[in-house]
Amino acid sequence: MQDTTALNIPRSSSALSRSRIAWVDVIAGMLAVDIWGRLGWRETRRRYRRTVFGPFWTTVGLALFVTTLGLVWSNLWNRDPKVYLPYLTSGMICWVCFSTICTDACVTFVAAEKLLRQLRISYTLLACANVWRNVVYLFHNLSIYVLICFYGGVGVTWATPLVIPGFALFFLNAIWITMLLGALCARYRDIQQLVSTLMQIALFLTPIFWSPDQLTGRTMILAKLNPVYHLIEIVREPLLGKVPGQSHWLFVILMTIVGWILTLQMLTRFRSRIVYWI
């Protein structure tokens, strides 16, 4: 047998406190790439089964959405479609990824009930599998963006490689969000409905269709307090060939730290309880 700690998290004892177990859960879970990669990829494969385009259908839908909406709204707001379309598309792709991760997060643990009742498996591993699946879809959707870039004349600049740290931070946040929502939704089943409702509204409150500089005064400050805005900005700006502002990086890094502290706290206190909730 291989040493799969992620499938057999050590138990608490005098030598191993609950907070240490929380750390082991997170680290071993993330390291079990082989397993979460396979679990996440399997979902993609399932969506390809017996269809020609599989998840590309979502991509096609999204492409239609951004092109029609983009053309109409750029007219309406008197903006150059060659500028507006890349902005809308990059933002929308990130948004779709983020909101799907949030709605998927709610069932992460509940759907894994069978596994959780048999194995002392890492919860982080399950969260990674869910996030990984959405990473795969994201890359499907990015294909639209490549086309839009040709149209809009957005080229590769020296700021483009910043998408790598951008996405890294984006998904690091996605994992803790999945863990917290997964646990919360397992305990309180109403949260799931709440999340899907909030996601609908958040789409309009986040600068995706519009940009924050269109706002003035107090509304602008409120928009800038929206964490999703910063999370999207650190990916969208490099995609558009620009360097994201320092405040965005700072906000997201802070959010990553706070989020993971909360998640480790949650695991420390409730790791052994989640199985009773599902």
Partner: protein, 275 residues
């Protein structure tokens, strides 16, 4: 040396989301475990599934857990597996635990047999190399031949059972935990399966099996414990414990005059002690 030591283990289940009226009804009754309200007037209902369980399982033990429905058999297995953490007492385990409560963790009906062998194998703790090495054996045992390249959705129930069983029994466990539902398909396959389970048991250091079937317990176990309302009420050689169990079910009441004497340490394979 593999070993399991439980000291005064107490396990409770919270019950969530039940209506107050339903809750009242539940508390008034006793079904299997002992139901109780936490802090009187509180709104939390818990089922006490294990009460003050102390037990040592030694290297080489093949332990059967018997008891009627809801006596705490599965809960005890899941405490061994580390899935339910006791709210009282201590559990210490030496050796790697392999729980086999369902034959196919992570089985996906849309995947082919081969894909499922890899996924389930990984989840059961096998490495890629190990799966590769055991593949011919799994192929042969499942008797699915060409079907393995087809999605599991196309299999009959019996074929699915065979596949799951073939994968699950390919592992090399140290401490093996088996739940009774480890089904084995049709009769001809069952005989086949029994031999394979025996081989699996032979290469495990400790086996714990929870089952209602006396025959199964008799065939596999050299020691048994009898659970009733979450307590161990007998512990010792299989035959003697099964004897106590049938005597108890004859008298039809669980509060049979159980001699309270006896040690908590069942180390010696002496006559069955009533704990």
């Amino acid at each position: 040396m593999a070993q399991i030591v439980l000291k005064n283990v107490v396990a409770e289940f919270p019950i969530y989301g039940n209506q107050p009226s339903f809750r009242k009804e539940l508390v008034g009754r006793v079904v299997g475990g002992v139901l109780r309200r936490q802090n009187s007037g509180g709104n939390r209902v818990t089922v006490r599934a294990l009460q003050d369980v102390s037990l040592t399982v030694h290297h080489g033990d093949q332990l059967g857990i018997v008891g009627h429905n809801g006596a705490g058999k599965s809960t005890l297995l899941r405490v061994f597996a580390g899935i339910y953490e006791p709210i009282g007492g201590t559990v210490s385990i030496e050796g790697r635990v392999s729980p086999l409560f369902s034959t196919s963790p992570g089985l996906d009906l849309d995947d082919t047999g081969y894909e499922n062998i890899v996924t389930c194998g990984l989840l059961l703790g096998m490495s890629r190399d190990e799966i590769e090495r055991k593949l011919p054996e799994i192929e042969a045992f499942s008797e699915l031949s060409d079907y393995l390249a087809l999605p599991a959705r196309t299999y009959s129930t019996g074929m699915l059972v065979r596949l799951g069983f073939a994968i699950a029994t390919a592992i090399d466990p140290e401490i093996l935990l088996l739940d009774e539902e480890l089904g084995a398909g049709d009769a001809r396959f069952a005989a086949h399966a029994a031999a394979r389970v025996e081989a699996l048991i032979d290469r495990s250091s400790i086996v714990v099996l929870a089952s209602q079937s006396k025959d199964l317990i008799r065939r596999i176990c050299n020691r048994a414990i009898l659970l009733d309302h979450g307590r161990i009420i007998a512990d010792g050689p299989t035959e003697e414990v099964l004897e106590i169990q049938s005597r108890m079910s004859k008298s039809e009441t669980s509060n049979v005059a159980v001699a309270a004497a006896g040690t908590n340490d069942p180390a010696a394979p002496a006559p069955a002690t009533l704990v």
